[in-house]
Structures are given as structure tokens and as C-alpha cells.
């Protein structure tokens, strides 16, 4: 199974996600990227992230995305 940094790299290969603590402020993810990322995470981990969880604070950095995945039942 692909790791989260690898998934992010596939969506936005031009960015170094490991070097940022705020993907939104750093212009690395926008609202539309979040929708793409959610679809990829759903497919990769066999989960269904709720629309109510598609908010910037859940996609701010690797930690917040991992927290969201854990809440959806993913064991990381």
C-alpha cells in the first residue's frame, strides 16, 4: 500500500511535502487538490472520507492528514 507522502507526491510532484508544516499556506494544496486527494485516499485505503471532513484544517500537513486517516479507521 502506498504511503501518504508517496500519494501526495503523485498528486503534486513539484512539491516537497516533507518540508512543509502548512500545505495550504505554502500554496501546495488548494481546495480542488483536496478533493483529488480525498478520492485517492478513499481508493488507496478503502475508506470513505465524509464531505464534512474535507476542510483545510484536516489537510494542513502530514500529521493532520494522518489523524484524519486514523479517524477513518486506517491503521498507519
Amino acid at each position: 500500500m502506498k504511503a501518504l507522502p508517496e500519494i501526495l507526491k503523485e498528486i503534486r510532484p513539484e512539491f516537497d511535502f516533507g518540508a512543509s508544516s502548512d500545505f495550504i499556506a505554502d500554496g501546495m494544496l488548494d481546495s480542488f487538490d483536496m478533493v483529488t486527494l480525498v478520492a485517492t485516499l478513499d481508493k488507496t485505503y478503502g475508506i470513505s472520507i465524509q464531505g464534512t471532513d474535507i476542510v483545510p484544517e484536516n489537510f494542513k500537513n502530514l500529521q493532520t492528514i494522518q489523524t484524519l486517516l486514523r479517524q477513518c479507521g486506517v491503521q498507519l
Binding site: 513539484e14 512539491f15 505554502d26 480542488f32 478533493v35 465524509q50 464534512t52
Partner: protein, 274 residues
């Protein structure tokens, strides 16, 4: 609809629509700074329903409509009941991949909106263009505040106000203060403008335009090359362009931009005539 006076009202309304959501849908992705500016200028109205929220933003002689709904069926039911649709000119943007927009498009069309324009997003990796010698001694400078009225006049005469999200004068003044409006002048007149927004590693060209009387002087090219070369920290350049404007799409392709799959369908109600 009533006036929105705080950012918290907006986020509260969105949260309420989300609370009952089974398949939340929205076209409202407000950045807090922009939202505050709209509220400060009295441009935003809002209406909260049981499972949906609607916002209207004043823009010149019409309104932009934004929605948040718990699901598409709720959107389809509630949007038809908005009184403004029968009395005001209203435009709505639906953004996403083409494959995912079908249901929402149908819901909005069933409320009397018709398709007006289709924009595509283009993206370019962040490899700065090689600086070139200015053509004919062309100097590209940051616009100054006194250029604001000429810039708004050029944008309004060159773009479509319903489809292209034209800025208000106060937004242009803020962009000028942030040094995000490049200008080329010729004999004292504004010949070309490149208006952009950079955030972190991403930069968006909002408008790139050459005044009709100054075309074929390579002023636009000078502005674009200056822009690309000046954004050395940027890793991703993006912009929106009308899909059937082949001339513009070709120009952007020349600078390395290519479609990234995101579409913006602009629909208008029947009070906006062709």
C-alpha cells in the same frame, strides 16, 4: 437574504449544512481574507435553510451565487426557492473535474440556469523562464496606485464580467500594494497588464491583457517573461482560461502551460441575456 456581517456567520452556516450531510456539495471555497473584504464592503448576503446555505456576492450589476448543501437533492429543491433568481441577474460557478460535475450541473440547470461559459485550468511547472532582453526597450514595472482606474477599465473592456470574476477597484488597489500587478506603459498610456496572485509555492495569473491599440508590440510577451522569471520560488504556475478561446490557450501553451483536468462551468439565470 440578509446581509452577512461576520466571517463566523458564514462558517457557522456552512457547518450547519454539513452537520446533516450525506453527500455534502458546495461551490464555496472562501479564503478568509477575501471573505472579510467582501463583508467589509457590504457585498455578501446569506440565507440559511435546514440543510443548505446560500450566499450572494454583489459584483457590478449582477450577483455570484454560492451554495452549500447536504446533498444534491437538497440543493436541487432549495435553489429553486431563492427569490433572487426571479428578480436579479445571477451567475454561478461549478468547479471540479468534468466527470464529477454532472449531477450538480443538472440540479442547477433545473433551477433555470443555462450554461454560459466553460473555463479550463492550466498549470505549468515552476521552471522560471530565461530572462530575455526587453523587446524594443520595453520596461515592465509594478503598477502604482494611480494606475487602478486604467487597469479596471482595461479589464472590463477585455474580459467577460459574468465569467471572469473581475476584481473591484479595492481589490486591484490591494494587489498593486502587494506588487502583484505588472504593467507595461507606452508613451504614458497603459499598454499591457499582468495581474497575478502568489501564495507560497503556487502563483496564479488572474489576468494577462494587452490593450487593443498596443497589440503586436510584444508587450504581453515582455510582461509574461518578466512575471515567470520574477517568481523564482514558485514551483507551480496556474491560471484559468476560457476553453474555446483558442488564441489565448495557444499563447499559454507557448509558455509551458497545459490543462490539469479542472473545469469551471459558469451558468447564468435568464435575466442575463446572451
Amino acid at each position: 437574504m440578509g446581509p452577512v456581517t461576520t466571517v463566523a456567520q458564514v462558517f457557522g452556516a456552512i457547518q450547519m449544512a454539513k452537520a446533516t450531510a450525506s453527500a455534502f456539495c458546495t461551490n464555496f471555497f472562501p479564503a478568509q481574507g477575501k471573505l472579510q473584504a467582501w463583508i467589509d464592503h457590504g457585498e455578501l448576503l446569506g440565507e440559511l435553510r435546514d440543510r443548505s446555505a446560500f450566499f450572494l456576492r454583489k459584483d457590478r450589476d449582477f450577483w455570484h451565487l454560492y451554495f452549500c448543501a447536504s446533498d444534491v437533492a437538497t440543493l436541487q429543491r432549495d435553489i429553486r426557492e431563492l427569490p433572487a433568481l426571479t428578480t436579479e441577474r445571477v451567475a454561478i460557478d461549478l468547479v471540479g473535474s468534468e466527470a464529477l460535475l454532472g449531477e450538480v450541473l443538472n440540479a442547477v440547470e433545473s433551477a433555470g440556469f443555462r450554461r454560459y461559459s466553460r473555463l479550463v485550468r492550466l498549470a505549468r511547472p515552476g521552471e522560471p523562464a530565461r530572462p530575455q532582453s526587453p523587446a524594443n526597450g520595453t520596461q515592465v514595472l509594478c503598477a502604482d496606485q494611480s494606475d487602478g482606474p486604467a487597469i479596471i477599465s482595461l479589464l472590463e473592456s477585455s474580459f467577460d464580467r459574468y465569467a471572469d470574476q473581475l476584481p473591484a477597484l479595492y481589490e486591484i488597489e490591494a494587489a498593486i500594494a502587494s506588487r502583484q500587478v505588472l504593467a507595461v506603459k507606452h508613451a504614458g498610456a497603459l499598454a499591457a497588464v499582468l495581474y497575478f496572485e502568489s501564495q507560497g509555492f503556487t502563483s496564479t495569473v488572474r489576468y494577462w491583457v494587452v490593450a487593443a491599440e498596443f497589440r503586436s508590440h510584444r508587450f504581453g510577451s515582455a510582461a509574461m517573461r518578466h512575471y515567470l522569471a520574477s517568481q523564482s520560488a514558485v514551483r507551480r504556475f496556474i491560471l484559468w482560461v476560457t476553453a474555446d478561446n483558442e488564441n489565448a490557450v495557444l499563447k499559454y501553451r507557448h509558455y509551458g502551460y497545459a490543462p490539469d483536468g479542472l473545469i469551471d462551468h459558469v451558468l447564468v439565470n435568464n435575466l442575463i441575456n446572451p
